[in-house]
C-alpha cells in the first residue's frame, strides 16, 4: 500500500482512504482481531451513540430556546425574577436529570460486564505465557518454560498462536512503559516493582502493530513492537527455531563477522547464545536474522538499515542506549552478513 500511494493521481484518494476510519489499519482500536478488542469496540460504539444522542438533544433544545427567546433590541429589558413557565421547566429539568442518571447507570453496568469479559481468566493451564519486560526503548519477550533450555527469549516481535489464550506478565526494567496493541486489546502499564497479568487470544492470523503508550523518555516515539499471530503449527515451528542456539557461521565472511561482533562493543550489551556474548543490557540477538524489523520497529531488517543503525544509532534514535560503532567497511559488511545469517 505504501508503494501504491506513490503512483500519481490515485495517491490523494488513497491518502484520504488511509486517513479515514474506513481503513482497517494494523494499529487501530476500530479494527479488532481479538475478542478483547472486539468487546471494547462494541462498548465504545454503544456509549458513543448514547453520548451522540445526548449531544444532539441538548444542543437542539438549547439553541431552539435561544432562537425562540431572541429579542432584537439594543436597550436592556427590565429583568424579571421568575417566569410563569418555570414550574413546567422544573418538570423538564427533573425529567432530564432522571434520564441522565438512568443512562449513566446503563453505561456503568455495560462497562463492568465488558470489563469482566475483557479481563477473563489469567490462570489458564493451556495458555501461552509471555513475560514482557519494558526497557528504554525496546521490548524483551521471554516465553518461560519449566525446562530452562526450552525458554525462548526474543525482542520486539511477539509470536502467538491463533485462537489460543495468551497470558502476558508485565514487568519493567527501568521506567513505566505501556504495552498496547490496539487491534488486540487495551493497554497495560509495565511498572517497575509491580507485576501484573492480562490475557488475550487473537482470532485472525496477521502481523499487528503495537507501541509504547506511556511516556518513557527521549525515544518513547520509537518503541514499537509487533504481534505475529500465526497458526499453531507455525507457532510451534517458530518456537523450536528460537530455542536453538545461534546458527554456527559457515562462510568465511560469517566467521569473520562473528569475530568482529565478539571483538567490538557489541558484546558489551548483547547476547548471542552459543557464543561468548552473554550480556543482557540490549536485545538478545541469537535469532535476529529472523525478525522483520530492528530497533523496536524503527527500521526494516535490511542490510542497509542495519549498517546505518550499527554505525550511528544516535542519528536514527537520538538518546538510544546504543553507542555509535565506527568500524571499517569490510568489518561492517561481514558483521551484517553474520547477523543476517542468525535465522
Amino acid at each position: 500500500m505504501f508503494t501504491l500511494s506513490r503512483i500519481g493521481g490515485l495517491s490523494h484518494l488513497l491518502a484520504i482512504y488511509q486517513a479515514s476510519p474506513l481503513n482497517p489499519g494494523r494499529h487501530s482500536t476500530l479494527n479488532p482481531v481479538a475478542p478483547q478488542a472486539g468487546n471494547i469496540e462494541w462498548l465504545y460504539w454503544v456509549i458513543f451513540w448514547i453520548c451522540f444522542g445526548a449531544f444532539v438533544i441538548t444542543i437542539l433544545v438549547f439553541f431552539t430556546g435561544a432562537a425562540r427567546k431572541y429579542v432584537r433590541q439594543a436597550t436592556p429589558l427590565p429583568p424579571i425574577k421568575e417566569h410563569p413557565a418555570d414550574g413546567i421547566a422544573a418538570w423538564f429539568v427533573g425529567g432530564a436529570i432522571t434520564v441522565t442518571v438512568l443512562s449513566l447507570f446503563a453505561v456503568l453496568f455495560m462497562s463492568i460486564i465488558t470489563g469482566k469479559k475483557v479481563e477473563g481468566a489469567t490462570a489458564e493451564r493451556n495458555a501461552v505465557t509471555i513475560q514482557v519486560t519494558g526497557h528504554q526503548w525496546w521490548w524483551e519477550a521471554t516465553y518461560p518454560n519449566w525446562q530452562a533450555n526450552l525458554t525462548v527469549t526474543t525482542a520486539n516481535e511477539f509470536h502467538v498462536p491463533v485462537g489460543k489464550k495468551v497470558v502476558v506478565l508485565t514487568n519493567s526494567n527501568d521506567v513505566i512503559h505501556s504495552f498496547w496493541a490496539p487491534n488486540i486489546t487495551g493497554k497495560r502499564d509495565l511498572i517497575p516493582g509491580y507485576s501484573s497479568a492480562f490475557s488475550f487470544e487473537v482470532d485472525k492470523p496477521g502481523i499487528y502493530h503495537g507501541q509504547c503508550a506511556e511516556f518513557c523518555g527521549l525515544q518513547h516515539a520509537h518503541m514499537g513492537f509487533s504481534v505475529v499471530a500465526e497458526p499453531e503449527d507455525q507457532f510451534a515451528a517458530w518456537q523450536n527455531q528460537q530455542v536453538a542456539p545461534a546458527r554456527e557461521p559457515t562462510t568465511a565472511e560469517e566467521i569473520r563477522g562473528r569475530t568482529v561482533f565478539l571483538t567490538h562493543a557489541c558484546v558489551m550489551c548483547h547476547t548471542i547464545r552459543g557464543t561468548d556474548a552473554g550480556s543482557r543490557v540490549g536485545p538478545d540477538l541469537t535469532h535476529m536474522g529472523s525478525r522483520r524489523m530492528i530497533a523496536a520497529e524503527t527500521l526494516p531488517n535490511t542490510r542497509g538499515a542495519l549498517a546505518g543503525w550499527i554505525l550511528d544509532p544516535q542519528r536514527i534514535k537520538p538518546g538510544s542506549r546504543m553507542t555509535p560503532n565506527p568500524m571499517r567497511p569490510d568489518d561492517l559488511q561481514d558483521l551484517i552478513t553474520y547477523l543476517e545469517s542468525l535465522q
Partner: protein, 647 residues
C-alpha cells in the same frame, strides 16, 4: 476591632464629595517603581494575575504551535526529541499551573470577589500580594529553565521513576518540582484570602442563600484548593528529596513505590480539573442571567451541584490510572464516581437551558462565547463519559483521544468562559467597551480553529496515535489527520492576534463603559469603571440574589466606617449581619521582600538542602517586617482632636 458602631442608615445620608476625596486619600496606593511593589489593593493584584497569566497562555500557545508544526509530517525535523519533550512538558505545566488556575481562580477571584461582596478590599491583602509574587516567581523559574536548556521534560505530571534521579539527571525535574511549590503556595494563599473575604466581608443582607453563584463557586474552589494542593506539594517535595538527598520514596529497587506517586499526584490532579472548570461555570452562571434578563433558574440546584462537585471531585482520581493493572472491582468504583460527577454538571446545564427558555435573550458578545462554551464543553463532557468506562479507557488512555478530550474540557470549560468573562468585565477593569465586530471575528476564528485542531485528534487517538510522541512513521497513515489538526493552529493564532489588537485598541479608544454597561445585577456594577481604590463610596446593602435588580428605590447603605483610616466591615458568615469594623492594612513593601527571600530559599533548595537552614533566617526577618505591629493611628494627635471634637 473598633468600638465605633456601624449603622445601616437611611439612604438620604448622602456623603459629600469631601468624603470621596478623603477616602481616595486614605485608600491611595503608592505610585512609582517601589510603589508598584507595595500595592496591596485587590484590583491591582487581580489585574496583575490576569495579565501575567494571559502572557503565560500566549507563551504556552507558542510551544503548542511549534509542536503541531513538528507533527504535521511524519519524520519531521522541526524539533528533536529532547526539545519536543521539553516543549510538551512546559506547555502542559504552563497551561495548568501558570495560566488556568492563576487566571480563572486567582485573577478573576481576586479582582471580582471583594467587588461582588461589596467590600473595600480583599481579606489579608498583603497575603494576596505575596501570593502573586510567588506565582510570578514560579512562572519565571519554569521559563528560565526552558530558555537555559533546563526545561522540565518528564511530562506535566512527571511520573517517577522517569522523573527520578536515575532517569532524569541534571536539574530539569527539580525546576519543575519547585515551580509546583511556588504556584501551590500562591494558590493556597489566595484561597485563604478569597474564602475569608466571602465568609466575613459580604455586604449586609447578602445572606448565604442570597449569595451570587459566583461567590458560592469561589468559596467551593477555595476549599478544594486548600484540601487538594497539599497533596501535590507533598509529592513534589518527595520527588525533590529523592533527587537531592537520596531518599528512596519512589525507587522500586529498594522498596519505593512508583504508584504511590501517581495516587498522590492525581489526588490533587483531578480536583485540579474542577478548580479550573468551576470558575468557568461561575462565569457562565453570572452571565446567563444578565443576557437572558432574568434571575437564574434553579439557584438552589446550581449551588448544590457546585458543592457536590467540590466533594465528588476528590473521589475520582484513580480514573487516571485504569491502565496500571489495579483490580477491576476498585476500578469500577472509580468508574461509578466518575459517572456520578457528571450529574451535577448536567444539572447546571439543564438549569442554564431552562433559564434561556424562560428568559428573553439579548445576545451580546459575551453571550456568543457562552454559546461556544456550551458546544465545546458538552463534547468534552461526553467524551469524558466514554473515558470513565474502564474498558474504553484501556484503549484510548494516553492517546490523542485523551488529548482531544481534555482540551475540549479545559479550553471549553475555561478558555471559552474566560473570553466571555473578559469581554464582560474588561469594561469594568479598563472603563472602556471592547469592540464587538472584532470580538465576533475573534470568536469565529477561534471556534473554527479549535474544532479543526482538537476534533481531529479524537480520530487520531482511535487510530492508535499515542500522545507525547515527537514523530511517527509514514506507515501509520496519521499524516492527513495531522495536517488538518495543524491547520487549525493558523485560525487560533489569528484569533488571538485579533483579540490582542481589540484589547489595545479598545483600552485607548473604546467607547466609555459607564458604571453598568450590561444592566447587570451584581454589586461590582454598583461602582465606577474602573473602580476607585476604595471600591464603593458607600458600602451597599443587599436585598436579594441580584443585588442591583432587587434593590429598593431607597436601598439602605452602610455608614459609620471611618474615611481617614482604611476600614472594612466584618459581617457574620451565615446571615451577613454587621459584627464589627476592622482596620485593614495599607500598602507595604514587605510582602514583596518576603517573596524574594522565600523564592531564594526555594530556588536554592534545587541545588542544595542547605538553602533551607540558610534561607530560613532571612525569611523570618522579612516576616517580622511584614508583621510589625502598627501600634499607632495614621492620624496625628491634632487631627484626632479635630475629628472627634465635632461630634
Amino acid at each position: 476591632m473598633s468600638s465605633h458602631s456601624v449603622l445601616i442608615s437611611e439612604p438620604k445620608v448622602i456623603p459629600t464629595s469631601d468624603s470621596a476625596s478623603r477616602l481616595a486619600r486614605t485608600w491611595r496606593q503608592p505610585s512609582g517603581f517601589w510603589g508598584w511593589f507595595s500595592n496591596v489593593h485587590h484590583t491591582a493584584i487581580g489585574t496583575r494575575y490576569m495579565v501575567t497569566a494571559f502572557i503565560f497562555f500566549l507563551l504556552g500557545g507558542v510551544l503548542a504551535a511549534v509542536m503541531r508544526l513538528q507533527l504535521t509530517r511524519p519524520e519531521n525535523n522541526v524539533l528533536g526529541p529532547d526539545a519536543y519533550n521539553q516543549f510538551f512538558t512546559v506547555h502542559g505545566s504552563t497551561m495548568i499551573f501558570l495560566f488556568a488556575v492563576p487566571m480563572m481562580f486567582q485573577g478573576f477571584g481576586v479582582y471580582l470577589v471583594p467587588l461582588v461582596c461589596g467590600t473595600r478590599n480583599i481579606a489579608f491583602p498583603r497575603l494576596a500580594a505575596f501570593s502573586y509574587y510567588l506565582f510570578l516567581g514560579g512562572g519565571l523559574l519554569l521559563w528560565i529553565g526552558l530558555l537555559t536548556n533546563t526545561g522540565a521534560d518528564a511530562g506535566w505530571f512527571s511520573y517517577v521513576p522517569l522523573a527520578g534521579p536515575a532517569f532524569t539527571p541534571g536539574k530539569r525535574a527539580d525546576f519543575w518540582a519547585q515551580m509546583i511549590t511556588f504556584t501551590e503556595v500562591s494558590a493556597l494563599g489566595t484561597a485563604i484570602c478569597i474564602a475569608v473575604t466571602i465568609l466575613r466581608h459580604r455586604a449586609p443582607g447578602m445572606t448565604l442563600n442570597r449569595m451570587p453563584i459566583l461567590l458560592w463557586e469561589k468559596l467551593v474552589i477555595s476549599f478544594m484548593v486548600i484540601f487538594a494542593m497539599p497533596a501535590v506539594m507533598v509529592v513534589s517535595s518527595m520527588l525533590l528529596l529523592d533527587r537531592l538527598v537520596s531518599t528512596q520514596f519512589f525507587n522500586p529497587a529498594v522498596g519505593g513505590d512508583a504508584l504511590l506517586y501517581q495516587h498522590l499526584f492525581w489526588f490533587f490532579g483531578h480536583p485540579e480539573v474542577y478548580i479550573i472548570f468551576l470558575p468557568g461555570t461561575a462565569i457562565v452562571s453570572s452571565l446567563v442571567p444578565v443576557f437572558t434578563r432574568r434571575h437564574i433558574f434553579g439557584y438552589t440546584l446550581i449551588v448544590l451541584s457546585v458543592v457536590a462537585t467540590g466533594f465528588l471531585g476528590f473521589g475520582v482520581w484513580v480514573h487516571h490510572m485504569f491502565a496500571t493493572g489495579i483490580p477491576q472491582m476498585s476500578a469500577s468504583f472509580f468508574t461509578a464516581a466518575s459517572l456520578v460527577i457528571v450529574i451535577p454538571t448536567a444539572v447546571q446545564f439543564f438549569c442554564w437551558i431552562a433559564t434561556v427558555w424562560n428568559g428573553r435573550i439579548q445576545p451580546k458578545l459575551p453571550m456568543l462565547w457562552l454559546f461556544g462554551f456550551f458546544f465545546v464543553f458538552l463534547i468534552g463532557g461526553l467524551s469524558g463519559v466514554m473515558l470513565a468506562s474502564v474498558p474504553v479507557d484501556w484503549q484510548v488512555h494516553d492517546t490523542f483521544f485523551v488529548v482531544a478530550h481534555f482540551h475540549y474540557v479545559l479550553i471549553g470549560g475555561a478558555v471559552f468562559p474566560m473570553f466571555a468573562g473578559l469581554y464582560f468585565w474588561i469594561p469594568k477593569i479598563t472603563g472602556r467597551m471592547m469592540n464587538s465586530t472584532l470580538g465576533h471575528w475573534h470568536f469565529w476564528l477561534f471556534f473554527i480553529g479549535f474544532n479543526l485542531t482538537f476534533f481531529t485528534m479524537h480520530f487520531l487517538g482511535l487510530r492508535g496515535m499515542p500522545r507525547r510522541i515527537y514523530t511517527y512513521s509514514p506507515d501509520m497513515h496519521w499524516n492527513a489527520l495531522n495536517v488538518v489538526a495543524t491547520s487549525g493552529v493558523a485560525f487560533m493564532t489569528a484569533a488571538i492576534l485579533v483579540f490582542l489588537a481589540n484589547f489595545f485598541y479598545s483600552k485607548k479608544y473604546g467607547e466609555l463603559a459607564g458604571d453598568n454597561p450590561w444592566a447587570a445585577g451584581s454589586l461590582e456594577w454598583a461602582t465606577a469603571s474602573p473602580p476607585p481604590h476604595y471600591n464603593f463610596l458607600d458600602l451597599p446593602t443587599v436585598n436579594g440574589r441580584e443585588a442591583l435588580w432587587d434593590a429598593e428605590p431607597d436601598q439602605a447603605i452602610v455608614v459609620g466606617l471611618r474615611d481617614d483610616v482604611p476600614e472594612v466591615l466584618v459581617t457574620n458568615s451565615l446571615d451577613s449581619d454587621p459584627e464589627h469594623k476592622e482596620e485593614t492594612v495599607g500598602p507595604s513593601i514587605w510582602p514583596f521582600l518576603t517573596s524574594i527571600t522565600v523564592s531564594a530559599t526555594f530556588v536554592g533548595s534545587i541545588f542544595t538542602a542547605w538553602a533551607i537552614p540558610y534561607g530560613a533566617p532571612f525569611v523570618v526577618i522579612t516576616l517580622i517586617g511584614w508583621l510589625w505591629p502598627r501600634g499607632h493611628s495614621p492620624m496625628t494627635r491634632e487631627e484626632a482632636i479635630e475629628e472627634y471634637s465635632h461630634g
